[in-house]
Structures are given as C-alpha cells and as structure tokens.
Symmetry: C2
Subunit: 483 residues, 2 copies
C-alpha cells in the first residue's frame, strides 16, 4: 500500500501556498479597512451562533468557501482590538512581524515542554528574555546568566499565580506542595490590584479572606506603611505572610505602587514580592520612564506583557524570577516518560517546570521578530508617541470645565469624567461605544464612574486621538443636554 | 502633526503581503523537506544561544535578514514534531487549515476575555464545542444548550487543574475559595495518570500527600474497587474526597480506565469525576472506537486535545463540564473595569470565568477550519489509518521473538521492548534517536524500560512505519550484537 493509492484529505504544500497567500492578503486587506468597522461589535447575544449550521459538515469543504464565510458569519461579531480607535481596557496590540513570527511558530509546530523537544524553542526564549532585561533596565539578577531567568507565560494572570505558588512554597519550606495549603497563609496586594490576584489566591488554596487588600493613597498607589502594619498584625495572629503583589500601572487608573518601600518591607519580612507591570512595563524601554521601576531590584519576580503594548500578538507575557531554583522546585514534576539525558545533565532549562501547563508553543519567535524588526529605537519611538498622545488628551480634558481628570495620568492611560455625575458618564460611554467610532471602557474611582482612554494600539496616531476627543465633546454636549 | 510627517517603523499592509507570502512559502518548503532533517535535534546545550548576538539590535533590521537567519540559527535546534517520522511522546500534529485559521486569529488580534470583547470569539467556540459533543458521541449534558458547556483551554494540564478546582469547591460548599484549602481534601487518580494531576493537586493547595494513586490492573487501568475502598477509608479518617481523575489513554501505555464503574463510585460518593482523554479522545470520532468512552455520561468534566491527534496546531484543549454554574462559581471574578451590559444580562458566556487566565485568543477559528476542511469523514479516515498502522506495527513486534509487547495496544500507541533487558532497550532507543531517522521515547512498565511508538503525526504513512520497524530491527541487531 503506498500513499498514492490512498485518498488524502490533507492540504498539500502547494495548496498551502495558494491558500496561505489568500489568507495573508485577507489580513492585509483587513489592516487597510479596519477603521471602517464599528470598533465594538454591534451584534446581539446569539446572533453569531444563529448564522452557523447546527451540524458539523460530514464532508470536507473547499478552503475558498471557508474563507468566504469569514466576512458574513464572523466579522459582525468582532470587536476590533486592532482598530486605531480602540481605547478600551488595556490594548492587546500586534504588528506584522509578530503575526509572521507566530505563523512560523504554527508552521514549525514544535512543542517545547523540554529542552530536548526543541532546544531552539528554549534557548531563543531564554536569550530574548535576557535581552529584555537590558532593554527595560531590569536588574541583572533576573538574567539566566545569574541565579535567575525569564520565561514566556500566556498571561499576567498566570504569572501572578506562578509567583504566588513560589512564594507559598518558600514560606512553608516547600511543605504546602507536600501536605497542602492551610488557612494560615496570607497574601497582600492593594485595593486597586488586578482581579487576577484574588483569582490566584483562590486557586492556590489561600482563600479570598486571606488576601489582604492594602489601602491606597490619593494617587491610588499602595501605602507601604499600611502593608508593613498588616504583615505585622498577621504575624502576631500566628499567620504566615507569603506573598505581596505590587502593581506598576494598575488596570483601573495606571497607579504606580512604590516598589522601593514595598520591597524593603518584603525584604525585612522575608515575603516574596511579585511586580505586575502587565501594560506599563513596556514604557521602561525608554530611559525617561524607568522611574516606574525604582526599587524593582528588591522584587523576587516581575512580569510584563509584550502582548499588551509591545506590538506582539497575544499571548506573550514575560516573567522573570531572581531565584529560578525556587520556581522550579515549586512546579517540577518528572515522570519517567519525560526523563531524558539533557534534563538529567542539569545543563539545560526545561520550561515545563516554569509554569502551569506542560506543553508550550514557540512563542519566542514572534518576540524575536518584533525586537529585530523595530529595533530598540523603533519600539521606543512608538511608546513615546503613545504617551505623548495620551498626555495631549489629558491636557484637553483638564482645559475643559465640563470634565475632570480622575487620577494622575503618568503614561498612556487617561482616567476622566464629566463633572455631571455617574449617570451622565454612563450615558456618554454608551453613546460613544454604540456609535462604533471608538471604544472606551470605565472604572470606578473614589466611588465615581470614570471613563478610561488608553492609547496603545499599534496604529493609533494623532488624528485618532483628536477625533476621539472631538466625539467625546459632541457626545457630552448631547448627554448633558438631555439631562 | 499628521502621520505623514512622522517616521513609522511599522510594517505596512503592502509589506505584510510581500513578507507574508515569503513566510507562507517558507512553511510550504518546510512541509516538503521536513523528512530531510534529523527528527530529534542534534545540538548541544548552549549551541543555539551561542549563535545569537549578545545584545538586542538598536536599529531595526530588514525582514529578509530576519527570515534568512531561521535556517542557520534556529533550524539546527528544532526537534521536528511535524516530521512523519516523529513517534515520540504523544503527537502534537497540525495541518494547513489549522495553521491558516490560527494565522487569521493572529491577524484579527482579538482578545475574547468577555463576550463583548468579540462575540464571535465566544459564540464560535461554544458552537464548535457543541459540534464536537456530537462528533465524539459525548453525552448531551456537556452541550451549552443544557446546563453544561465547552471551552478551549491551552492544555490538558490546565483542564485537569480547572476541574480539580471545581471539584474542590463543590466538596467544600465553595468555602475553599473563601477560607483556603485545608489538609483534609483528597484527590484520586491511578498510578499511571499524567504528572499534571500531581501538579494540579500541588497548585490547588491539596498537597501531593493528599493525592491517592490508585493501583492498576494488569492492563494498567485503574481498579475501581480499590478506588472505592480508598475513598471509604479516607471518609472514615475524617477526610474530604473531592476529585477523581480517570484517564482514557494514559501517557505511559494508553491504558483505559474503566469509566463506568469509576463513575458509579463517584456518583455514590458525590465526588467530581474528570476524564482526561488528551490524546485518545480523538479516536471517538470513529464509532467503532467509542467503547473508550463507555460510562462517560457519569463524568462531571471531560477533556481531549485536538492539538494532539486532531490536526489542530498547539494550543487547543477542549474541556466540557456538565454543570457550568459550578465551574463559573469557582473561577468567577468581576472587577468594575470588566463590568458590561451583556455580562449583566446573563444572556452570554464570559469565558474568562471558565479557565485560569483572563485573556484568550480566538482559538476556535483553527478548530472550525479543521472540521470544515476535513469534514467528519476526513478526520475519521486519518484516525483509522493511524490506528491501522500502529496495529500493523504491534503485529510485527509480536511476531519477532527478540521483542515483546509491554502492554495492550488498543489504538495508536505501541509499547514494546527487547527481551534483552533495560540496558539493551536504552541503547536501542539512543541509537535510533541519534540516527535522526526517527524519534521515539520510553517509559517504565512493570519495572522495565519500555519503548513507545505512537502513530499520530499528520503525514505518517505506511512507508514511515515500515521504515521505522526496519530501522528498529537493524538497530536491535547491532545493540544485541554488542552485548
């Protein structure tokens, strides 16, 4: 029996060339027309499913038919994160070199759970994460050439969980892994920290009640003295402080927790300090913004997301630890079927022991492509532009008596609101998002509904921010007029 | 200031067209020449890093230069999971339609944490996972149209952890999330289960000592009566059984835990039953292999990986629960900045509450492309071929007096060994893997080193399995001759 005698349903390399070009052209067209779509999808719940056949196809379909279905069946249900008019949440930006690096990762199809299962997948990742330590001005102790090292995780949520687990184990002499967590373990973060810290405390068996939400100052930054007092009180109560998560750029308002005094508390207390710089870490590419990291040398671990603001498509979170042995001891598992000579030699990293999943794709390729395509200079240029545009927007808000800034705007996120109250702000946001011209989201600061405008999409330029402000002003007029 | 006045380091849509075609062609060339590479990378530790510049580039580089570096700098460090001569571990196969669906996901660049952040990302996923319930003959209770539903996770490791967390919460009245896990929670799996179950027990705060490894029968399948006895003993000791993980196709030997009697124990005891069918679940596309799922209607959750054997590139694990409310209650977090009308209406799924990370890419696209490209018929055809080839290989082993089968070979994994002992088998494997002609890995069964040959790579045909057997026989001759 030879292959020519048998049917094959596979796409041949030549078909892949043809259809691959069609998909590349489709994406290029999308890049050119992305501004023509409403940014926030306007469909109703169930509308996309209603367009899909109830049963899977018994026979295969031509690729042309599948591709042709994208526009009518899928595109109405897309919220356009790659629109330059996307100002919501934090960005998840992307770029040509990232997409193509990721395409090569899919094409090579390697699974890098062990060094041996593709040494390049491990070594390029280690190498590029060492590069990034220098690019962001992070401490040498995070480099793989010291006792530390970096690894790509899917998201900052997973990085926070991973760090919490290492902190939990270190605080209990690696006994929680053996005997289970107990109700005495306590973790700390600010009231403004990301919801993933609470999720991690639940997952890791600490419990929500054992996550202390430390109060913040008028800039929404954690108060280090409150942290110190709480840790002391918990120790007096016989509890075991194990983990502090400080945030460089909170999701609500881009508040910057003061790393140095927090780090000093953690050093004194011997508590693991993790720094979550998911979006704002990218700013440290530019020396003038490195003040956000002041004191980071006191941290045990640090994470930022190139998939937010560094032109690298999702998913790509970079996570470093100062003591990789502690991390590996926390997560290591070695069943017989994964044993191999390279691992036993101790000369290699097996990244399966650096995160929650076992398997992993070759995500370093897209990061390598982005850094090489832009160069440090190109990345800095665009980060500076985004900050400049956000600062311009903040100035317009401040100069307009109908509005107020709701928080300091240190970088590329502006929190603002109409002085006319919560209901007016809610209606303003809904009107803007329904228009499809732009997309922004809200938070609550000081008990008041607050709009957030974050400048970080790859192709956002001055004209988009100018148009956003014009539309916000027009909509504000309508909303306040209705009252 | 307009965009034309300012420099841009971005790749333009026209450049993306040009470079995108170059990358597509590169991958098509790779598909054509993949058999010319040694399957297992032959580099030494540090060799790939040594070829990379110590510093990141200050200025951007031409895309042609980046792409040209792949062959000399990266390819020597690739272990070729997409080679038809890859028989190691379990496969991580891929296909043209999957790669192109994933490319579109990168190009659209949506982040589907909430329904609203791209309704199509959520609804296509829900829909395709409902399709798969029918395609695999799984129980209706896993469909989103009932109280259940499916979600794509990155890996089976994460699916197991997610299921364990839901079981933990259900067993403690959702109090572990509040007050922390305690040392009384107990989980169960077989001695042959995947290492991810132990990893999950550690992460979730149960502790390794509270994971009971239930003994197996002569086919390496969990003994349900031993499970029942252990649960009873633990209850008598005042412990809280919360989770059982049964495996459909263990990693070591493809053993099939008997789901029906295990499920009956779990129902009686009110313990969450998760079924890990990471590789073998795909076989259930074919009605004649659905016996592997007998009793799955007694499970609370179930997972299999299209990224192993269903031609969908990594990562793509499909995970279903019968009671989605229990899962959501376990993982839900709702900070103000994620609140939105669609969520509050209760009419939509927000998949952020169905897994560990918050963010997620549009992975359903690649799965949709694979199912539509192959049709159920095409998928079945290739699964049957793989099983047939593995069975042929098993027959050759059985007919050769130098070798023995080390375990039943129910599907596409054959566990075999030389009768000449552990050292001979180790040398046989090393010789084969060093040759570059094929790649297979080992396990230990009944205390003996055992080789594993798994047929599941997309393009593995009869000629590859025939050549593998021929090479194994030649190498065996050399190895035994050396003794």
């Amino acid at each position: 029996m030879t292959s020519s005698d048998t049917p094959s349903y596979h796409m041949t390399p030549d078909q892949f060339r043809r259809y691959g070009r069609a998909v590349v052209d489709w994406i290029a067209d999308y890049m050119e027309r992305v501004e023509s779509y409403p940014v926030l999808s306007q469909v109703q719940p169930g509308q996309i499913r209603a367009g899909l056949p109830a049963q899977p196809p018994a026979q295969g379909e031509p690729f042309e038919a599948i591709l042709a279905d994208l526009e009518p069946l899928i595109m109405p249900g897309i919220t356009h994160w790659q629109s330059p008019n996307f100002f919501a949440f934090f960005p998840a930006n992307a770029s040509g070199p990232a997409i193509l690096g990721d395409l090569l990762s899919s094409g090579l199809g390697v699974q890098g759970m062990l060094w041996a299962t593709s040494p390049a997948c491990t070594e390029l990742e280690t190498h590029v994460l060492d590069w990034l330590v220098d690019m962001l001005g992070l401490p040498e102790k995070f480099k793989s050439t010291t006792a530390g090292g970096g690894v790509i995780q899917d998201t900052a949520s997973s990085a926070t969980l991973t760090a919490l687990l290492a902190g939990r184990e270190r605080a209990t002499g690696w006994q929680s892994n053996e005997r289970g967590a107990d109700g005495r373990l306590v973790a700390y973060t600010s009231t403004q920290a990301h919801s993933s810290v609470e999720k991690a405390a639940k997952i890791a068996g600490l419990g929500r009640q054992n996550l202390r939400l430390i109060e913040v100052d008028e800039r929404f930054a954690m108060r280090p003295e409150a942290l110190a007092q709480q840790i002391e009180a918990d120790r007096r109560a016989g509890l075991v402080p194990c983990f502090v998560c400080a945030t460089v750029g909170t999701t609500s308002s881009n508040a910057m927790d003061p790393l140095r005094p927090i780090g000093e508390v953690c050093q004194t207390e011997g508590v693991w300090l993790h720094v979550d710089a998911a979006m704002s870490g990218t700013a440290a590419l530019c020396p003038e913004f490195r003040w956000i990291h002041d004191g980071v040398e006191l941290a045990d671990s640090y994470a930022f997301n190139p998939h937010k603001w560094m032109f690298t498509n999702f998913d790509c979170d970079c996570f470093w630890v100062a003591d990789r042995a502690a991390l590996i001891r926390t997560l290591s598992i070695l069943p017989e079927y994964l044993r191999n000579q390279a691992t036993e030699s101790g000369a290699v990293f097996d990244y399966r022991d650096w995160h929650i999943p076992l398997g992993r794709r070759f995500r370093a390729l897209k990061l390598w492509f982005v850094i090489r395509h832009y160069g440090v200079e190109g990345l800095r240029y665009h980060v500076r532009r985004h900050v400049e545009l956000a600062q311009q927007f903040a100035a317009w808000v401040q100069a307009d008596p109908r509005f107020e800034l709701a928080a300091p705007a240190p970088l590329n996120l502006v929190c603002f609101r109409l002085r006319a109250g919560d209901e007016a702000n809610r209606r303003l946001m809904d009107r803007l998002n329904r228009s499809g011209h732009l997309y922004l989201t809200h938070t609550v600061l000081d008990g008041k509904v607050t709009l957030r405008l974050c400048v970080g999409q790859t192709h956002t330029e001055a004209r988009h921010v100018e148009a956003a402000w014009r539309r916000i002003c027009e909509a504000a007029e309508a909303v306040v007029g209705e009252q």
